[in-house]
C-alpha cells in the first residue's frame, strides 16, 4: 500500500486488505448538504497518522467508542437491557465500572419504554445512547422512533429536539439466528425523515461512525453487524475520531461496474469483486456507510463512470433500500446506464432458520449478477 499508515489498516478476516484510495476529482467534487468535502485519506477521519493503532474486533471497537463518548461528555448515558453487565455481545463491558451505574444502567425489558425514555433524556440536552438488544426487537419501539423521535424537532418548530439520541442495535445474519435474531430492518427507518441511519462495515468504521452518530444533533439509528462482532478484526486508531455521516466510501476503484452495499454485506461484495476481477471485470466498490441521508453524489458519479450498478443487501429485496438507490440512480444517471440496475438481496421470505444459506445474497449470487450486468 502506498501510504505507510494505511498499510496497517487491515481487516484480518474481514475485507482482506483495504485498497489504497486514490483521490479522484469525482470525490473531491462530491458534496453533501452543500458542504465541500475534503479529500479523505484511507485511514479513518480524524486519524492524523501518528496515533497509536490497536488491534480490535468490532465489539471492542464499539466498546472503545462508548468509553470515549462517556469520557468526553459527562452528560452522556448508556442504557438498555443488560448493558451494565456488558450486554449480550459484550459491547458495553467495563463501562459501568468505569463511569458508574448512574451513567450506564440496565433497563427493564421494554423497548418502547427504552426509546421513549431516551427521547425525553435527549430532549433535556443529554446524549442518550440506547441499546436495543437485537434489531429484531426494535419494533415495539417503532412508534417512539418514527412518531416521536423523528418528528420532535419539526413539530415543535425547532424548540425541542432529541438529537442526542443514538440507538445502537445489532442486525443481520449470524448463521443460525432464525426468525427473530437475524433481520436487517434498516429500510423501515430510511423511510422516516428526521432520522439518520448508519451501518458500519468494520471495527475502525464502527468506532468512527458511532462517535459521529452519538455527537450528531439528530436521532440516529446505528445498526451494528453482529456477525462481525468477533469475526472482523483490524487495526483501529486509539483515541477520539469521527467518521463523517452522510458520506459513502469508495473501497476500490474500477471501471466496469459499480457495486454498492453497506455493513456486513461489504465482506460478501469484496469477495464477489475479487472473484469477477479474475474474469477481467473491474469493479468500483462503494460502502454507503450512512443510509439516511445517503451519499447520492458518490454513487451517481461512479455510475456515470462505469455505466452499471449492482446493489446488494441482506434485507428482502422488495422495498429494501436497494430499491431507493436503483430509482434515484435511474433518475440521475439514466443516460449513462448501459445495463439495468441489478439488486442482489435477501429473498421475499421471513428470515429462515435452516434455509439461511438459500436466503442470503451470497458471493456467488453477487458475482453472477455482476457478470450478467457487465455482459448485458
Amino acid at each position: 500500500m502506498q501510504r505507510g499508515t494505511a498499510a496497517l489498516l487491515r481487516c484480518a478476516r474481514f475485507l482482506g486488505e483495504l485498497q489504497p484510495r486514490r483521490i479522484s476529482s469525482l470525490e473531491t467534487a462530491r458534496c453533501f448538504s452543500g458542504a465541500a468535502m475534503q479529500a479523505q485519506p484511507s485511514a479513518p477521519e480524524g486519524y492524523d497518522g501518528t496515533a497509536e493503532l490497536k488491534r480490535m474486533n468490532l465489539f471492542t471497537a464499539v466498546n472503545d467508542a462508548l468509553h470515549i463518548a462517556l469520557d468526553t461528555d459527562p452528560n452522556s448515558y448508556i442504557f438498555g437491557e443488560d448493558v451494565s453487565f456488558g450486554g449480550v455481545f459484550r459491547c458495553t463491558t467495563g463501562l459501568a465500572e468505569r463511569f458508574g451505574r448512574h451513567r450506564v444502567f440496565n433497563t427493564p425489558l421494554c423497548e418502547q419504554g427504552i426509546i421513549g425514555f431516551g427521547i425525553g433524556l435527549a430532549a433535556m440536552g443529554s446524549r442518550a445512547i440506547a441499546e436495543i438488544q437485537f434489531a429484531d426487537y426494535i419494533f415495539p419501539a417503532f412508534d417512539q422512533i418514527v412518531n416521536e423521535a423523528a418528528k420532535c424537532r419539526y413539530r415543535s418548530g425547532n424548540q425541542f429536539d432529541c438529537g442526542g439520541l443514538t440507538i445502537r442495535t445489532p442486525y443481520g445474519a449470524v448463521g443460525h439466528g432464525g426468525h427473530y435474531h437475524s433481520q436487517s430492518p434498516e429500510a423501515f427507518f430510511t423511510h422516516v425523515p428526521g432520522l439518520k441511519v448508519v451501518v458500519p462495515r468494520s471495527p475502525s468504521k464502527a468506532k468512527g461512525l458511532l462517535l459521529a452518530s452519538i455527537r450528531d444533533r439528530n436521532p440516529t439509528v446505528f445498526f451494528e453487524p453482529k456477525g462481525l462482532y468477533r469475526m472482523a478484526v483490524e487495526e483501529v486508531p486509539i483515541g477520539d475520531y469521527e467518521t463523517e455521516l452522510g458520506r459513502a466510501e469508495v473501497l476500490r476503484e474500477g471501471s466496469d461496474v459499480t457495486v454498492v452495499g453497506w455493513g456486513a454485506q461489504m465482506l460478501v461484495l469484496e469477495r464477489a469483486c475479487d472473484a469477477v476481477e479474475k474474469e477481467g471485470v473491474s469493479c468500483e466498490l462503494i460502502d454507503l456507510q450512512t443510509l439516511l441521508p445517503w451519499d447520492v453524489d458518490t454513487v451517481a458519479a461512479s455510475v456515470s463512470k462505469t455505466g452499471r450498478l449492482v446493489i446488494s443487501h441482506e434485507a428482502p429485496i422488495t422495498s429494501g433500500f436497494g430499491a431507493e438507490i436503483a430509482a434515484k440512480i435511474a433518475e440521475r444517471s439514466f443516460l449513462k446506464l448501459e445495463a439495468p440496475v441489478a439488486r442482489v438481496c435477501g429473498l421475499d421470505t421471513p428470515f429462515p432458520l435452516v434455509f439461511e444459506p438459500f436466503y442470503l445474497p451470497t458471493e456467488s449470487k453477487v458475482a453472477d449478477a455482476i457478470m450478467h450486468t457487465v455482459s448485458f
Binding site: V88, N106, C110, Y137, P140, H179, H181, L347, T349, K365
Partner: protein
C-alpha cells in the same frame, strides 16, 4: 368418580401414559397396595397462596397416585429432554437460540393437570416443555430444535417456535411480551364463541414490564375475557434480577383491578390447584393473574452461563430445597405410592425415550426446499419471485 376427575383434568396424552405406566408398574412390582391408581388423595401444599383482591384457593389439593406418578414421569422426561438439548447444542446439532426450561417443569405439568386441550396456551420462547405438556412428543421438539422435518413446525421455526394447533397451543413466540395480547385475542374468541374454555397467556418476569401486557390486561378486564395472565417468575429477566427491573416484583398484584394469586411454582400440586381455581374464576369473572414463583437452572439462553448475575450457591440451594421433581419424588415415597426402585425404573424409561427421540431427530431429514418459500402467504401472490444461487429468476408456483 375419582377416575373421571382425573380424566377430566388431564389431557389424553398425560392420562393414557400415566395410567398405563402406573398400571404396568403396579402389576410388575405389586406396590399398589397402599392406594389404587385413581383413589382420591388429599395433599396439603406447604406454601400458602398469596392473593390480591381475591380469596385464596384451598391448600388442600386433591390428587391421586396416578396423577403424582404422572407428574414425576412427565417432569423427569422434560428435565432429560432439556439436558439432552443442552448437550446437543454444545455438540452443534442444535444451533441458534435455545432457551431451556429445566427447573420450571412443575408449572407445565401442574397447569396441564387442571386444563384440557380445548383450553388454549400461548407462551414465549422458553417453550420446549410446554409443547410436551400439550401432548407433543420429544421427537417433535428435538427435530424442531435441529431444524429437521419431523419437528412440530416442520423444522421451520426452531427452538422458539413450537406449535400444536390440534391441542390449542398457540406457540412459541420470539418477542418478549408480544404473545400476551395474542392470548387475550384467543380468549376473546373463546368467549365470543361461548366456549367453556380459558386461555393461558404466559410470560416471564422480564416481559412483565412490557407496556403491551398492560394494554392487553385492560382489554381483558374491560370485556371479562377468560384469560389467565400467567407470569412465570424465574426471578431473572435475561441477566437482570427482578428487583433491578421491577418496582414491584409482586407480579400477581400488578394487575391493579385484576385479582391475582402468587403460587409456589416449584410445587406441581399448588400449580394445579391455582389453575383449577383460576379456570373456574376466569370463566365466570374474567381475567386473573397467576404468578408462578419458579426458577430456571440454566442461563437465559445458551450463550449465558447463568452464573454471572447470580451465585452458584443460589442455584444449588434451589436445587436442594425446592426442586420440583425431588419434591414429587419425596411425596410419592412418603405416601408409599411407589418405591425408590420404581421411580428409578421410570427414570430409566424416560432416559430411553429421550435417547431414542434424539436419535430419530438426528436422522430426520432437512425440510424440503419448497418450505423456504411456502407458507408465507395463503396461496402465492401473483408475480411472487424467488431465485436460486445462479440468480436466474424463477416464478414460484405452489
Amino acid at each position: 368418580m375419582a377416575l373421571r376427575l382425573v380424566s377430566a383434568r388431564m389431557g389424553p396424552f398425560l392420562r393414557q401414559r400415566t395410567l398405563a405406566a402406573a398400571a404396568a408398574l403396579a402389576q410388575q412390582r405389586g406396590f399398589a397396595a397402599a392406594a389404587s391408581d385413581d383413589e382420591k388423595l388429599t395433599v396439603t401444599v406447604p406454601v400458602p397462596f398469596k392473593t390480591h383482591k381475591i380469596d385464596p384457593p384451598s391448600q388442600e389439593v386433591e390428587t391421586s397416585k396416578a396423577e403424582l406418578l404422572g407428574f414425576f414421569t412427565d417432569m423427569y422426561k422434560m428435565r432429560r429432554m432439556e439436558i439432552a438439548a443442552d448437550g446437543l447444542y454444545k455438540s452443534k446439532f442444535i444451533r441458534g437460540f435455545c432457551h431451556l426450561y429445566d427447573g420450571q417443569e412443575a408449572v407445565c405439568v401442574g397447569m396441564e393437570a387442571a386444563l384440557n386441550y380445548d383450553d388454549a396456551i400461548i407462551t414465549a420462547y422458553r417453550d420446549h416443555c410446554t409443547h410436551l405438556g400439550r401432548g407433543g412428543t420429544v421427537l417433535e421438539v428435538m427435530a424442531e430444535l435441529m431444524g429437521h422435518r419431523d419437528g412440530c413446525s416442520q423444522g421451520k421455526g426452531g427452538s422458539m417456535h413450537m406449535y400444536n394447533k390440534q391441542h390449542n397451543f398457540y406457540g412459541g413466540n420470539g418477542i418478549v411480551g408480544a404473545q400476551v395480547p395474542l392470548g387475550v385475542g384467543v380468549a376473546f374468541g373463546q368467549k365470543y364463541n361461548k366456549l367453556p374454555n380459558v386461555t393461558v397467556a404466559m410470560y416471564g418476569d422480564g416481559a412483565a414490564n412490557q407496556g403491551q401486557l398492560f394494554e392487553a390486561l385492560n382489554i381483558a378486564a374491560l370485556w371479562n375475557l377468560p384469560c389467565l395472565f400467567t407470569c412465570e417468575n424465574n426471578h431473572y429477566g435475561m441477566g437482570t434480577a427482578e428487583w433491578r427491573s421491577a418496582k414491584s416484583p409482586a407480579y400477581y398484584a400488578r394487575g391493579d383491578y385484576v385479582p391475582g394469586i402468587k403460587v409456589d411454582g416449584m410445587d406441581a400440586l399448588a400449580v394445579k390447584q391455582a389453575f383449577k381455581f383460576g379456570k373456574e374464576y376466569a370463566l365466570q369473572n374474567g381475567p386473573l393473574m397467576l404468578e408462578m414463583d419458579t426458577y430456571r437452572y440454566h442461563g437465559h439462553s445458551m450463550s449465558d452461563p447463568g452464573s454471572t448475575y447470580r451465585t452458584r450457591d443460589e442455584i444449588s440451594g434451589i436445587r436442594q430445597e425446592r426442586d420440583p421433581i425431588e419434591r414429587i419424588r419425596k411425596l410419592i415415597l412418603s405416601l408409599e405410592l411407589a418405591t425408590a426402585a420404581d421411580l428409578k425404573a421410570i427414570e430409566k424409561e424416560s432416559k430411553r425415550e429421550v435417547d431414542e427421540a434424539v436419535d430419530a431427530a438426528k436422522s430426520s431429514p432437512q425440510p424440503e426446499e419448497k418450505l423456504l418459500y411456502d407458507h408465507i402467504h395463503s396461496g402465492t401472490p401473483a408475480n411472487f419471485q424467488i431465485y436460486g444461487a445462479d440468480r436466474q429468476h424463477v416464478t414460484v408456483k405452489l
